[in-house]
């Protein structure tokens, strides 16, 4: 992506709908307190302030190419410091959800991770690491990803942090709870 690319406003081409996030942050003053206070800002490709600007300018596709919102560790410092009292941490999560809904390619891996992690919990009441990893790797279909995680996996296994069998657990399926949550979320 070129830094000098001209931004057209209002955008001519159709864009992903970010109106919900936009409403959350549109009172932003661009003071930069959020970016200054973010402990993860150094790892982000865009600072939070940059991201809010893109939201205001309706640049959904650029935002979804960014990893900024996935790096949010929900420390809430920005929300606490924002002179406009904006729900910035929530806005980060809203972007994450929007990216998921938009099936953004860049965030496919993260989305698959979230999905199978929760799926494992839904079925068994806790994470069944081997089953979860199997489903996750199968969904991503990226052998490099498996290789990248191999070393870590072996170290964890060596310390007994990655049981290879089905873990002994008294946990029960949480399917009912998940169904109820979906019901609540579906109702307006």
């Amino acid at each position: 992506m070129s830094r000098s690319a001209v931004i057209d406003f209002p955008p001519r081409a159709a864009r992903p709908d970010l109106s919900r996030v936009r409403r959350m942050i549109q009172a932003c003053l661009q003071c930069g307190t959020c970016s200054g206070s973010c402990p993860n800002a150094a790892a982000m490709d865009f600072t939070p302030r940059h991201l809010w600007r893109l939201v205001m300018l309706d640049r959904g596709e650029e935002i979804f190419r960014s990893r900024t919102f996935t790096l949010c560790s929900a420390c809430y410092t920005c929300t606490l410091r924002c002179p406009r009292g904006l729900p910035l941490t929530e806005a980060m999560h809203a972007l994450e959800q929007a990216a998921h809904r938009a099936r953004s390619k860049r965030h496919r891996t993260a989305a698959a991770f979230h999905h199978h992690f929760l799926e494992s919990i839904r079925r068994e009441g806790r994470v069944n690491e081997p089953a979860f990893l199997m489903h996750y790797f199968a969904a991503v279909k990226d052998p490099l990803l498996v290789l990248r995680h191999a070393a870590l996996g072996l170290r964890l296994a060596a310390r007994g942090r990655l049981p290879l069998g089905r873990p002994a657990s008294r946990a029960r399926s949480l399917a009912a709870l998940f169904a109820r949550a979906a019901e609540v979320e579906a109702s307006p």
């Binding site: 830094r3 000098s4 690319a5 001209v6 931004i7 057209d8 406003f9 209002p10 936009r22 409403r23 549109q26 009172a27 932003c28 003053l29 661009q30 003071c31 930069g32 307190t33 970016s35 200054g36 206070s37 800002a41 150094a42 865009f46 600072t47 302030r49 940059h50 600007r53 893109l54 205001m56 300018l57 410092t77 606490l80 410091r81 924002c82 002179p83 406009r84 009292g85």
Partner: protein
């Protein structure tokens, strides 16, 4: 000299209160000025320097004509005016009644230092064992519980802080004049009933409270308590909630029936706090949670006692009340993000920093690092701490902090030398005032102050003790870190708590930001007739606007007094008769004080009396008791009469040098101030017997002054009673109405064919009010007023004259020329929108100015429904040379236009391209609203303005988006240019009246801060846009202020010069004109016909510059003759 019937109360003796009080007093009314603090001059008394002069200048508030009515002294030290009754340490207890007849109760704390008696020796502070933070130094130093309120205070009236005093009595024992009364001397009579079922609680309460001097009684149950209440009167009840049988809430209800005025404090365990809160709803005053600390309990009891024991002054009846209670500083510790304030010593508030730079501050004005590591080299200012912060419930801009920080940065550079680095971190840098932008630019370009647009989020100690580290993020996203020695927080302002409480008691509504609300289009009228506000208690404004609003408040108060039958007082003649005595040979009565307060009684040594008596012009030398008392004054008058003396020399102490006392002595003795002289022999405060030699020198210099004092040159100037007002817009009409309502005739000249000025096309203000209704109302009242003559389609063809006697010739539409005589002139000639240049203006129908859009919007020719995207370009020609000033109204105007578009088309996209968004004060709320509704705000740097490319029916605006660092192209159907305001003032006309224009063509006030509506020449005033760009309510405030200042001159038949005024000895004058060039008041001119240099006796302020530059000794200062000065020096040197 010009007294009127009618009295006003002014609450608060900060600069607003002083201005309002002086305006009312100058017009002739009596004023009671009350101040809660022990010193006048408020916040400004703590600040040594103001921009743009980087000096103080508060004394410029003092009267310019009839100067002798006030003491020409520093207002930071004290205030004296013969019609102002200044009461310090005094609060308003209540105001009842209606405009014209308001009954006021005033209250003073129970103990304190009697200012009538305090001789300022300082022994009390020397022995006082209690140290508390000194408010004057913003808590950076400590003071004693009895101390000077500020080092500069004169007379040196020490003040006692009742909340800090432990009543040890040490000060009372050492006070030589018996001036100190300990607070709480009556605590025995303050009875407290302690109700608790537990004996241990009752008993410990009893012990604590009796140790503090209170009387107590105990009750073990509800019924017992009620019985005690029926039997005896109590002032306070401490009541347990949980008791067997009758519980505390029930006792409270019944107790309130027996003794409705009883104060009750509930005592509760943590579990029953909710009950305590309920109890407060039915009349309990407060609650304490058990187990409580004695340190929490005692202040509550003392506070109740102070209210009980406070001495009430006899009630007053006044015609109007002016509230000038000011504001208070935001405390960073109360917020979510205190930036290390209170933790790191290098973090200061602005007021603390100002004290640090002051010669009377903790370091004597040297910029030292608080950690003791030497001089300060790097300072950062962080703007908007506690302002513009929704999280701190401050959806307003405090308006003053940006300029204050720039001034402080320059001050630091001046104090710390060239290599001191000053950095200001800001959001928008708000330079929305006359000359502010150029001051900022100079700070950056000439003095190297660094401006960074960023809001640092936090502050940490730098590693290795290298001061404080600030981390911030640049617009582009880069993170930066730097270390600083000092960090100054530009803390915002808040409504003053005491003022808010008073407003609530008076039934005055508050605005959404907690300040006292004014009615629409006014800055000073409140919902309650007869009660007006001036200065920052109605919202944050800078010094100039404070002074303007205070004068406007005085005008409104004066209207109330006028309507209540004031203003008809007979004009007192000055005491010309006794002044003529000064022409007689001196015959001096010398009276020495025998101090009653010192022990043994101090008096002037015999040899001194003998030496004094040998002077042939001394008729008698006597010693009398306690000259500072009323009896002493009577003795003085009797001695003078017996000796047949025409001058009075007093040997006493500093107490008798107070202007008010001197004035009383002269009046009682039938003399004028010039005939009385006091020598300070420090009798009462001296620790050793007076030194005979020094006393004799002091007395002889006083004698020399008396002998050589000259009668004043009484050359009164007649005043034509009419006012000429130029311009029939909102400012001109308002000013005309104020003056005419006070009984003076007004000639209102308007060049166009109709009245109304800019109100003829404006349709809505940012507050949502309709200016057209205001215009119709003003026009109707002006045209129907019997004392206003309106000249439409007329212009001034010639003008001449001076204050009191201007002559103007006006040409009407029919070509007929009329001659008008008038005492004063007010320029209300207004301003208009600056012409648009560039930005595609004229090339596309889609590009229009704000005024054009406003007109098209109101006549319906703008197709709002067809608009999809609107762009406004702020500062389109403003804030860069040659128009390098902020027009102040264009930012709010753009927001208002967008609001108007959005009302008709909610889905409209709006983009505001701006440099700094100037929504000062409460206009900030409109900015928040606009941001919240999704308006896009994009800042642009002044050297890279947006480019507009017309495209058929619309335009594409290209601008660099600073955060993304990428160009942005906006396709808009309408581009609104905010071009700013230019004045419509004719230089020739202003100069014909002796006024001047500033470099932008606006009216040049005599002093930008302290005399903002007065011209460089006396009798010439300006208001409205002629002065500087401003909103409608602000223009109205200037009009009322200018009218009030004009009334100060018009309210009298003749103007009297001061005792000290310059004169020319024509026989010695060589007409070199050096004095004319040197005169700072423009009081001198060369009369070509007479061939003489003429001095205008009212314009002359008696500074003596002319006498200093004159090579021939032809320029002299009357009332300050050189022979007198030489003989004083001779006597003083022995």
């Amino acid at each position: 000299m010009n007294a009127r019937i009618g009295k006003a109360l002014v609450v608060g003796a900060g600069i607003a209160g002083i201005r309002a009080a002086l305006d009312l007093a100058e017009y002739g009314y009596s004023v009671v000025l009350v101040e809660r603090a022990p010193r006048p001059s408020g916040l400004l008394g703590q600040l040594d320097r103001q921009f743009p002069t980087d000096r103080c200048g508060m004394c410029r508030l003092l009267p310019r004509v009839e100067r002798d009515a006030a003491s020409a002294d520093c207002l930071r030290r004290g205030l004296f005016h013969e019609r102002i009754d200044l009461r310090l340490n005094t609060e308003v207890a209540g105001i009842e009644g209606e405009a014209g007849r308001l009954r006021v109760r005033l209250r003073r704390p129970s103990g304190g230092v009697d200012p009538e008696r305090c001789a300022g020796c300082g022994r009390c502070a020397a022995v006082c064992p209690v140290e508390v933070p000194d408010e004057f130094n913003a808590g950076l130093t400590m003071r004693k519980a009895v101390d000077l309120p500020a080092p500069q205070c004169f007379p040196h009236a020490y003040a006692l802080d009742p909340s800090a005093c432990t009543r040890c009595g040490a000060c009372r024992e050492v006070c030589p004049t018996g001036a100190i009364r300990l607070p709480g001397a009556e605590r025995r009579s303050f009875r407290i009933l302690l109700v608790d079922d537990e004996w241990s609680v009752r008993d410990s309460l009893k012990e604590w409270l009796e140790a503090e001097g209170f009387s107590t009684a105990m009750a073990a149950s509800g019924p017992e308590a009620l019985a005690a209440l029926r039997e005896k009167a109590f002032q306070l009840m401490l009541l347990d909630i949980k008791m067997p049988g009758m519980d505390g809430v029930e006792v409270l209800e019944r107790a309130k029936q027996i003794s409705p005025g009883l104060d009750v404090v509930m005592m509760t365990a943590y579990a029953t706090v909710e009950t305590a809160v309920e109890a407060m709803k039915i009349g309990a005053l407060d609650y304490l949670i058990k187990p409580f600390d004695v340190a929490d309990l005692i202040p509550k009891a003392v506070e109740r006692f102070e209210r009980f024991a406070a001495a009430e002054d006899p009630p007053l009846t006044v015609g109007a009340v002016v509230l000038c209670g000011g504001s208070e500083g935001y405390d960073p510790l109360s917020g979510k993000n205190p930036y290390g304030y209170g933790v790191f010593p290098g973090v200061l508030t602005q007021v603390e920093f100002e004290r640090l730079t002051s010669a009377t501050g903790p370091t004597g004005g040297r910029l030292l690092r608080p950690d003791g590591r030497g001089a300060v080299r790097r300072i950062a200012w962080i703007q908007c701490v506690g302002s513009r912060d929704a999280g701190e419930e401050a959806d307003f801009c405090s308006s003053v902090c940006c300029m204050a920080s720039i001034k402080e940065a320059l001050l630091a550079k001046a104090l710390g030398g060239g290599d001191l680095e000053a950095t200001i971190f800001h959001m928008d840098l708000r330079t929305a005032g006359k000359s502010f932008q150029r001051y900022r630019d100079q700070a950056e370009e000439r003095h190297g102050v660094r401006f960074i647009r960023a809001r640092p989020h936090s502050l940490t100690p730098a590693p290795g003790g290298e001061g404080l580290r600030i981390r911030w993020v640049e617009a582009g996203g880069e993170s930066r870190e730097e270390n600083f020695d000092l960090v100054v927080l530009a803390t915002g302002r808040r409504p003053a708590a005491g003022m808010t409480a008073l407003a609530e008691r008076l039934g005055l509504p508050l605005n959404p930001w907690g300040f006292i609300a004014a009615v629409p289009f006014s800055r000073c009228r409140t919902a309650r007739p007869g009660v007006v506000i001036g200065g920052t208690c109605g919202g944050m404004v800078d010094i100039a606007e404070t002074v303007i609003q205070a004068s406007a408040a005085a005008a409104e108060a004066s209207r109330c007094l006028q309507a209540a039958g004031g203003g008809q007082g007979a004009e007192e003649r000055p005491a010309e008769l006794s002044d003529s005595v000064l022409r007689e040979l001196p015959r001096v009565a010398a009276v020495m004080c025998r101090c009653r307060w010192s022990s043994p009684p101090a008096e002037t040594p015999e040899p001194v009396l003998f030496a004094l008596g040998r002077d042939p012009e001394v008729a008698t030398v006597e010693t009398a008791d306690a000259l500072c008392t009323p009896e002493g004054r009577r003795t003085l008058a009797a001695i003078r009469a017996r000796a047949g003396a025409n001058r009075l020399l007093i040997g006493a102490c500093r107490l008798l040098q107070q202007p008010a006392r001197l004035r009383d002595i002269a009046r009682d003795g039938g003399l004028t101030a010039g005939q009385v002289e006091t020598a300070d022999l420090a009798l009462c405060s001296a620790r050793t017997p007076p030194d005979a030699q020094a006393a004799l020198f002091a007395l002889r210099s006083g004698l020399a002054r008396l002998k050589r004092s000259e009668p004043p040159a009484a050359r009164p100037i007649p005043v034509a009673p009419a006012a000429l007002v130029l311009g029939g817009g909102v400012a001109g009409m308002t000013a005309a109405l104020v003056i005419a309502d006070h009984g003076a005739p007004v000639e209102l000249v308007e060049t166009s064919e109709r009245l109304g000025g800019n109100l003829t096309w404006l349709t809505r203000t940012i507050e949502g009010a309709d200016p057209r209704a205001l215009r119709d109302d003003l026009v109707r009242r002006v045209e129907g007023h019997p004392r206003i003559r309106v000249h439409k389609g007329a212009r001034i063809v010639h003008a001449e004259g001076e204050v009191g006697s201007f002559v103007s010739f006006i040409e009407g539409p029919d070509g007929e020329v009329r001659r008008l005589e008038h005492g004063v002139v007010l320029f209300a000639t207004g301003g208009r929108e600056a012409p648009a240049l560039g930005f595609g203006y004229g090339e596309s129908p889609a590009v229009a100015t704000q005024a054009e859009v406003e007109r098209r919007l109101s006549d319906g020719t703008l197709p709002v429904g067809a608009l999809d995207t609107v762009v406004t370009i702020q500062c389109a020609g403003s804030r860069r040379e040659p128009r390098n000033y902020c027009s102040r109204i264009c930012c709010p105007a753009s927001l208002r236009l967008i609001e108007a578009f959005r009302e008709r088309r909610p889905e409209l996209r709006a983009v505001v391209l701006y440099r700094d968004l100037m929504t000062t004060g409460f206009a900030e709320a409109a900015y928040t609203r606009a941001r919240g509704s999704g308006v896009l705000f994009i800042p642009y740097p002044s050297d890279r303005p947006p480019a507009v490319r017309p495209t058929g029916a619309g335009a594409v605006v290209a601008v660099e988006e600073p955060i993304l660092g990428r160009p942005l192209e906006i396709e808009a159907q309408l581009v609104v240019l905010a071009t700013g305001i230019v004045p419509a003032l004719s230089r020739e006309l202003v100069e014909a009246f002796g006024g001047r224009l500033d470099e932008d063509g606006f009216f040049q006030p005599a002093d930008a801060k302290w005399r903002p509506v007065d011209g460089m020449a006396e009798g010439v005033f300006a208001c409205g846009l002629a002065l500087s760009p401003r909103t409608i309510p602000e223009a109205i405030a200037t009009a009322e202020a200018a009218a009030m200042r004009a009334l100060g001159l018009l309210g009298r038949e003749r103007l009297f010069a001061s005792r000290i005024v310059a004169r020319v000895r024509h026989s010695l004058c060589s007409r070199c004109e050096q004095c004319i060039a040197a005169c700072p008041c423009g009081a001198r001119r060369l009369d070509e016909e007479l061939g003489r240099v003429i001095v205008h006796p009212v314009r002359c302020q008696g500074c003596g510059t002319c006498a200093a530059v004159c090579p021939n000794d032809a320029a002299i200062l009357e009332g300050f003759p050189p022979p007198q000065m030489f003989s004083i020096l001779e006597a003083a040197l022995g």
